[in-house]
Each structure stands twice: as structure tokens, then as C-alpha cells.
């Protein structure tokens, strides 16, 4: 853990959570912008080579999600790792020590219900809560964003239904907000029926909590928004929040050997060596 992080500068750790409505680990501009923000937050905590760990639990630890994470962060200035609870048999590790040594813990998407159930079985929730209080940034998208709240709207059982999260943040969150109209409708109904209000996040919109107070909204794609959703006077109100735009960084320069390989491949194609 870095000594020049937020903790050392301020004396007391700042509790930070980044909740994202939805994104992928691709090289498209909005995805690059999201990864840049994750790297920046990790770097503020961990310095030049922050430790970033993915918990792909909600997906059942799919190779796809893990590989996507490494392809996004593997070539960057950080130490990426994964804690795959379904694969510990082949790669044992001390979960608590590993997680508490991170600068940022990223939780991938999938089934919110399974995420919470597997975490409970492995006693992960208390470790994450401690990590948060120690200043380790908690982040995630979709189920990995809703898990930090008291409740979310999940399709873990097929159709969208309310499910409980860890409750580090008060209120509720609904992800893929305008991208999945049936999820938004279920959320508005649930808040109308007494579920605590909260936020709606479109894909590529995010909310960042830093210390006490209200979160700040960010967006990596024009038109993607964060909404405050609350019940007042018997009605559910939905109001968009002003958001800071996250520009996509230039694509990372290709590594010398990869660039060389592509040059040769192009030359061969031209010469008709390859189909």
C-alpha cells in the first residue's frame, strides 16, 4: 500500500465508492474513459503503480470478464489481480490480506443475488467494509455497483426485482437505467411502493462518493446520465444530475513487439503470403 496516498496526505482515510451504470472492458472511447477514471482513483490512493483487483464473483468468475479486465489494465501502470472465489482451488490465496493490500477493488457485473450469497459464504462483506473504511477505493458496474447500496433492481431471477446489497451507501441504485426500460419501470414501482429512493444510472454514467456528502456525477458518453430518484407527496420524482464529462484518453501506444508483429503481418498480406 502506498505511503503517498490519500490516507497519508489527510491523516484520515477518505471513503470512496465509484458506482457505474454499465460499461465493458473494450478499447472503445467511453470504455477507455471509464478505465482512465479507475486508474486515476487508484493512483490517488496508491501512487504510480497502484494495485487494482477485480472481484468477478457476480459473473461466476467467467474467463471473459477476467480476461477483459487484464486486457484493459495489463499494459497500464498498475498491478492488476483477480480474486476468483470459484477458482481458489487452483490458486489458493489469503483473501483478507490480498484484498486489504489493494488500492482499488473493482466488482464486475452479473447476478447481484449470487454475488451477495457467495460473498456471505466466504465472509467477504466484512473485508470490503473494512477496506472502504481504510481508504481503499471500491468500484464496480451493474451488480458490482448496486452491491454497495441498501438495495438494487436485479435480474438475478430472470425478471427485474428488488434485492438487498451490502448497505455501505444508504438508499438504492438502479443500473442500465434508460438502456433497460423494464428495469427502470420496476425501480420506479419499487420506490413508489416504499423501497428507499436513490439513483438511476445509464450505461456509461457514474456516481462518485468521496467522503461525506453528496456524490458527484460523471459521464463517459454524451447523453448518458445519472438521475436522483425519490418519492415525495405520494409521487416518484426523477431528476437528472449535472455530470462532468470524462474524455477518452488517446489509445495506449502499442507495445513495440505487437507493433512489429502487425507490420510484418501487413507486409505478408500485401505479398500474398497470407489469405
Amino acid at each position: 500500500m502506498a505511503v503517498d496516498g490519500v490516507r497519508a496526505r489527510t491523516g484520515t482515510p477518505v471513503r470512496r465508492i465509484l458506482a457505474l451504470g454499465g460499461h465493458e472492458f473494450s478499447f472503445r472511447p467511453p470504455d477507455r474513459a471509464v478505465c482512465e477514471l479507475l486508474l486515476r482513483l487508484a493512483g490517488e490512493q496508491g501512487g504510480e503503480r497502484p494495485r487494482i483487483c477485480i472481484l468477478p464473483t457476480a459473473s461466476g468468475d467467467t474467463s471473459e470478464q477476467i480476461a477483459g479486465f487484464y486486457s484493459a489494465f495489463g499494459e497500464r501502470s498498475c498491478e492488476p489481480s483477480d480474486v476468483s472465489l470459484f477458482r481458489l482451488g487452483r490458486r489458493p490465496m489469503e483473501l483478507r490480506d490480498h484484498l486489504l493490500a489493494q488500492d482499488l477493488i473493482y466488482v464486475g457485473g452479473g447476478s447481484l443475488v449470487n454475488l451477495l450469497a457467495v460473498w456471505e459464504a466466504h465472509d467477504i462483506a466484512s473485508i470490503l467494509s473494512l477496506a472502504w473504511r481504510q481508504g481503499i477505493v471500491l468500484a464496480g458496474q451493474s451488480a458490482g455497483a448496486m452491491c454497495w447500496f441498501e438495495a438494487g433492481i436485479t435480474k438475478s431471477s430472470g425478471r427485474p426485482l428488488a434485492a438487498a446489497g451490502l448497505g455501505l451507501l444508504g438508499g438504492s441504485l438502479c443500473v442500465h437505467y434508460n438502456n433497460e426500460p423494464e428495469r427502470r419501470a420496476a425501480y420506479l414501482d419499487a420506490v413508489g411502493d416504499g423501497m428507499p429512493g436513490g439513483y438511476g444510472l445509464d450505461d456509461y454514467a457514474g456516481l462518485l462518493w468521496e467522503g461525506e456528502g453528496s456524490p458527484s456525477a460523471v459521464t463517459a458518453r454524451r447523453g448518458a446520465r445519472a438521475y436522483r430518484v425519490s418519492k415525495g407527496g405520494g409521487k416518484v420524482a426523477e431528476s437528472p444530475l449535472p455530470a462532468r464529462f470524462l474524455p477518452a484518453p488517446a489509445p495506449a501506444a502499442l507495445r513495440e513487439d505487437i507493433a512489429e508483429f502487425r507490420r510484418i503481418k501487413t507486409m505478408r498480406k500485401r505479398a500474398g503470403w497470407l489469405g
Binding site: 470459484f86 481458489l88 489458493p92 449470487n114 435480474k155
Partner: protein
Amino acid sequence: MDMAPRQIVAFGGGGFSMESGNPLLDDYVLGLTRAERPRVCFLPSASGDADHYIVRFYRAFSAHRCEPSHISLFRREQGPSDLRRHLLSQDLIYVGGGSVVSLLGVWRAHGIDSILREAWESGVILCGLSAGSLCWFEEAVTGFHGEAKRLRGLGLLPFSNCVHYERGAKRGEAYHRFLREGMCGGYAAEDGAALHFVGPELSRVVASRPQARGYRLDVAGSRVVEMQIATTYLGDRDAVPAAPLPEALSTAPAA
């Protein structure tokens, strides 16, 4: 009408997951159904519903010999929406290996634990290997991650269980220690051996490898008594076929 017997076949390890090209244990559990085209549902929950595992199941349990299906609890938007109805309509439920801790957590979250009990009581045959074997017992020894640990299973069978019980394996020592510390007595099975329970009683031990064995373990005072159980190698031409088993056979220890 007779009630179908409650049956569980707990593999120490084996079947399509571990014994590519040796279908003896899988053939055995299919035979127990006594159905011409048994309905077989695979639960890969302990692996996190790994795609490659599901593909291997469909290869081993191809549609010409049974009616295969699977339930992915990580992708509920696909597959049967009424889990209970689907599971209760099966002849055989086959549980894959992986993390037994995660398995039990996910099952509880979706109410699968009580559905499986109901399925067992109504005569659906339950089987599985590794995590898919440990889960049926009162207590289990898991060595999936780091040090061997003791944990509670679904408790359909009032015994303890230890899988991959190979000679010299660390989990064997741990099992003996847990027994001395008060774990209930139970059974262990080596890779290739399977414990076949009818009701709550061990009916027989079968094996896909000539040398694979099952064991009975009990505590007498402060001593653990381990007995090898006579095991039927399913590859023998005169092996007793998967005959109907009205009552538990003896569990006479082998010499």
C-alpha cells in the same frame, strides 16, 4: 403405488468431469433411473456455471441417451423460469464440482436447497462429484482452498463425507482430526469410487477403476476406526448391474 426410493450417489471424484473416456459412473447413475430416456439436469453452480463445463456435460449426456438440461443460477434470464417445477420433473440431478462453499451459498439464495430435498423425497436420483458429493451430507471436509475445513452440507444424509480420499492426501489427516473433535461419523471415497445411498443407508460402493475404494469412518472413544468397504468394479463383465435396490445391502468391511 410404491413410493420411489430416495437415492443419492456421491462420487469421490469421477464421471465425465474427471474421467474422460471412462463413462462407468455416469452410466451407472443413468441406469438407476430405469427410464428409457431419463431426464437429466446438470447443476454446475459450484464452478460458477462455467461454460466449458456445461459443454462437457452435454457431450457426455448426449440427447440420444437421455434428455439433458442444465440450470445456470448466474444466468437466470436463460433456461427454465420455474426452477422447482423443472427440478422435480427430472429423473436424475447431477451436481458438478468446484467450490462447495460457493455452491451452498448460491443454492440458498435461490431456494435450491429445499427444492433438492423435495426432489430427493419424491424419488429424483441425486448425484455428483467432489463439491457435488459433499453437499448432500450433514458435514463435509473441504480441501478446495488452502487448509482442509469442516462445513455443514444440506444434511440429507446424516453422516460426514470426504472426497478425493487418496492415500496420503492431507484431507485424510484432517478428516481423522475432525472426527476426533466431534464431527459425526461418515464415509470417504477415493477418485473413481461412488457411495450409493438408498434412503439414509449406504447401499453399496461402486467404482469406475478396479482399485478405487470407499471407506466407513467412526470414532470409538478417542480413536478413529476406518474400514474399507467392499467395492464393486463396474468394469467387470459380471458386475452386479444397476438393479433395483429395495433395501440397503450390508456395508461389510473388506479385509
